[in-house]
């Protein structure tokens, strides 16, 4: 088994810098885990609420180490056929049609149905060979000629049975295809698994992985993200928007807005040429941030409070300035 080609980061600071170059703001905790994953060759299990940058982390990781990103999106009922490989039935079918005569030859002279079936079975390795295999993400990561980053996204949506299977793949990076034999990885991929915590992952899987919990970002970080991703935003607007979003997250909401919503909102407000949060503007665009009627109402309350506070603050500042002038 050939191990991961080279150690792509030489320090934690380098992780932070290279991620920033790809427009991903990572705090020291995230950077440490990424650094460890690449130097110890261990998978990362990233947990946390939706929209905090779990998927993006894997994408940016692939970009920074210049590897192909192979993504396996999980869902309920995902099985090995969809994750590992499938036989290309259509192609097999086509071949059987074209080779009808040949098949008749093989089956010809059989005295019973049973015997005909036996004869076909003897030849089935023709149809179950490389030629007819359709590799899915896991097999692609295993057979890739160059190192890859494998993203197993939203693993909590898959069934526990699938998780058990995945664990086997992750432990030795080899799979046995009954019809073809054992396939071994040429390069151990850098693996990122993400989970929105719909259910808890098994201890066995967790044991294998480094664990990273990403929470909503601090105000300072979120501001950085907004400025990076929506550079045309007016500085005052950016600051107010982040400040307001951070307060909204403290409310008792059905769905708490994530970074994606902050960014969507920032873009919407930029389109409207906003330079600061104003009552009407916010009311018109709040549905970019919140999806539920009840949540929107709660946020509107919060907004009134926010705006009136800002007003008194501004007045305070103005009178201070007046005083300075008088001196």
């Amino acid at each position: 088994m050939v191990s991961y080609a080279s150690q792509p980061f030489s320090s934690i600071d380098e992780v932070i810098a290279r991620f920033a170059a790809h427009k991903y703001i990572c705090n020291r905790r995230i950077a440490t885990v990424v650094y460890l994953a690449s130097s110890l060759q261990k998978p990362i299990l990233v947990e946390g609420p939706a929209g905090v940058g779990k998927t993006e982390l894997a994408k940016v990781l692939a970009a920074t180490v210049q590897c192909e990103l192979i993504r396996l999106q999980c869902y309920e009922g995902l099985d090995e056929a969809k994750a590992l490989y499938e036989w290309e039935y259509a192609k097999q079918l086509l071949y059987t049609q074209i080779l009808k005569d040949k098949i008749n030859e093989v089956v010809g002279g059989a005295r019973s149905l049973r015997e005909a079936v036996e004869r076909i079975a003897r030849e089935d390795n023709v149809f179950f060979s490389d030629r007819f295999i359709l590799p899915r993400p896991l097999l692609r990561a295993i057979t890739a000629d160059r190192p890859t980053v494998l993203l197993v996204d939203e693993i909590d949506k898959a069934d526990p049975e699938f998780e058990a299977f995945l664990l086997e793949v992750l432990s030795d990076f080899q799979v046995s295809v009954p019809e073809l034999g054992t396939l071994k990885a040429k390069h151990i991929p850098l693996v990122v698994l993400t989970s929105n915590n719909a259910r808890e992952m098994s201890d066995a899987l967790k044991r294998r992985c480094l664990h990273l919990y990403i929470d909503f970002p601090s105000a300072a970080q979120e501001l950085e993200i907004v400025q990076l991703k929506v550079p045309e935003i007016h500085p005052q607007l950016a600051e107010e928007l982040v400040h307001f979003i951070q307060r909204v997250r403290q409310l008792d909401l059905k769905k708490v807005p994530s970074i994606s919503e902050t960014l969507d909102w920032a873009r919407a407000l930029v389109l409207l040429n906003a330079e600061a949060l104003e009552q009407q503007l916010v009311e018109d665009t709040l549905n970019a941030v919140l999806k539920y009627e009840g949540d929107i109402r709660k946020a509107q309350e919060e907004l009134k409070d926010f705006l009136s506070r800002r007003k008194t603050e501004r007045q305070g500042r103005e009178t201070d300035a007046d005083k300075d002038l008088l001196h």
């Binding site: 020291r28 440490t32 885990v33 090995e80 058990a164 086997e168 201890d203 066995a204 480094l210």
Partner: protein
């Protein structure tokens, strides 16, 4: 350092964080990879390898601070408190410290080292002095809370606290004339407060050592609320927390099945079956047959004691039952005292508060009767045994206090034989099981899992153990 990390891991385990041996080794590797130059990186390396559940992070953080950060944080806090007690802002404190050193120099007084560090607020050096003293008196031998006072006293003696007090008194006398009278009060107060800070630091040091040894001391500060607040209304947060715990429990129950079945492997392509199924398409393989496994939902019967002897934890237990019932379709619930009655329908139809209220009201079973587990189990055995099969997990919540009635443990034996597993959660402290009218010893032999459980923390611990 390696030893120190391994001891820290041991501490995590004692405090309910599950760490396997493999993870021990991972943590050492990770620490080696990040090095020791930055304490924050060191902490994150340990966190990533040792803490795999988000709910364990507060435990990790507080233990990390206790174990690796030492007294530093506390010393800073004490100083801050003193600062605000003096009504100081910004540089006031530093100015006072500077002025004080100046005066001491002018007086030509040679202060003891301890007095000097205390008054100049050299916290690093101060911590060193405290640690030296701790080593000298063998503080790491402290085991129990009642020893706290004794060890604090020993430390104070070793540090020479009374000599220090005398020294500072003397200093105050001599400074009196030197310091301008409007500053004098603050200076005097500062010296007094710093002496208090030192005694606090000593106590804190002993306490920290003790907390390392006694997970229960810390636990009492933790999220114990659910059980204790039994007669209050449940808050949204408590409801949410219980949902989370129950979901995890159900996952565990399900995962056991998944792990056992894992060996079943990938459904292999079955050529004979495929041909047979595809005869209708003229023998051309349209539908490929794999042998598929059936998905499991947790199938649970839960029996909950609502008698007077468990009244302090009834709400916790019923909340557990209700949540289980609420989240999963194949759950049936029963409550019992001496009678036993099914409450599945009641729990399905009512909101959580109404359901719990009614279960405890005496309308479902007589809650004022004397507990009779034997009788209740016999009723269950008579009326519901057919509902128990190889897929059923049976969970019993109760204290097994049977008022000296017949225990009829054979009923459990029968239930156990038919069920997938039998779990008993007892809210009583394990130390008291089997004493007085407790029949726990008789019952537990028929259970697969028996755990002490009267709050969420313990419930999580149960969940952890179920895998073994």
């Amino acid at each position: 350092m390696e030893q120190k990390i391994l001891r820290f891991v041991e501490l995590l385990r004692q405090n309910g964080v599950r760490v396997s041996l493999a993870e021990d080794l991972d943590s050492l590797q990770a620490v080696a990879a990040v090095g020791f130059s930055n304490p924050a990186d060191f902490r994150e390396a340990l966190r990533a390898t040792l803490v795999k559940r988000h709910i364990d992070e507060p435990t990790f953080d507080s233990l990390f601070n206790l174990y690796f950060r030492g007294l530093g944080g506390d010393l800073v806090e004490h100083l801050k408190a003193t600062e605000s007690a003096l009504g100081f802002e910004d540089a006031d404190l530093q100015n006072l410290i500077d002025a004080l050193s100046q005066s001491v120099q002018e007086l030509g007084v040679q202060l003891s080292e301890l007095a000097r560090q205390l008054l100049t607020a050299d916290l690093g050096r101060l911590e060193q002095l405290l640690r030296q003293a701790a080593r000298h008196v063998g503080l790491d031998a402290v085991e129990r809370p009642f020893q706290e006072g004794r060890y604090a006293h020993m430390l104070a003696q070793h540090l020479g606290l009374s000599a220090l007090a005398a020294e500072l008194e003397e200093l105050k006398k001599r400074l009196r004339g030197l310091i301008p009278s409007n500053d004098w009060e603050k200076v005097q107060k500062f010296i007094d407060l710093r002496l208090q800070d030192l005694t606090r630091a000593i106590k804190r040091l002993v306490r920290q050592e003790l907390e390392k040894k006694e997970p229960t001391l810390r636990e009492s500060e933790r999220i114990d609320r659910l059980g204790e607040k039994s007669f209050y209304y449940l808050t949204e947060e408590e409801i949410r927390q219980m949902k989370e715990a129950v979901t995890k429990l159900a996952e565990r129950l399900k995962n056991i099945v998944a792990v056992r079945k894992k060996r079943g492997k990938r459904g292999r392509f079955d050529i004979k079956d495929t041909l047979r199924k595809n005869l209708q398409y003229g023998g051309v393989p349209f539908r490929i047959e794999f042998d598929r496994r059936v998905k499991d939902k947790p199938q649970i019967l839960v029996l909950c004691d609502v008698s007077d002897s468990v009244r302090n934890v009834s709400r916790f237990m019923l909340q557990f039952v209700y949540t289980l019932q609420d989240l999963y379709s194949r759950v049936r619930s029963f409550v019992f005292v001496s009678d036993l009655s099914e409450v599945t329908r009641l729990f399905e139809e009512q909101d959580i508060h109404a359901a719990i209220e009614q279960a405890l009201s005496g309308q479902v079973v007589n809650v004022f009767a004397h507990s009779d587990f034997g009788r209740a189990f016999r009723i269950f055995h008579r009326d519901f045994l057919p509902a128990v099969n190889k897929k059923t997990t049976v969970i019993i919540l109760g204290d097994a206090r049977n008022n000296y009635n017949l225990p009829h443990e054979w009923t459990l034996k029968d239930i156990r034989q038919r069920a997938k597993q039998l779990i008993w959660l007892n809210p009583e402290n394990r130390l008291t099981w089997g004493f007085g009218d407790s029949e726990m010893d008789r019952y537990l032999v028929y259970c697969d899992v028996v755990e002490e459980c009267r709050n969420l923390n313990q419930l999580y611990r149960v969940i952890d153990r179920i895998v073994h």
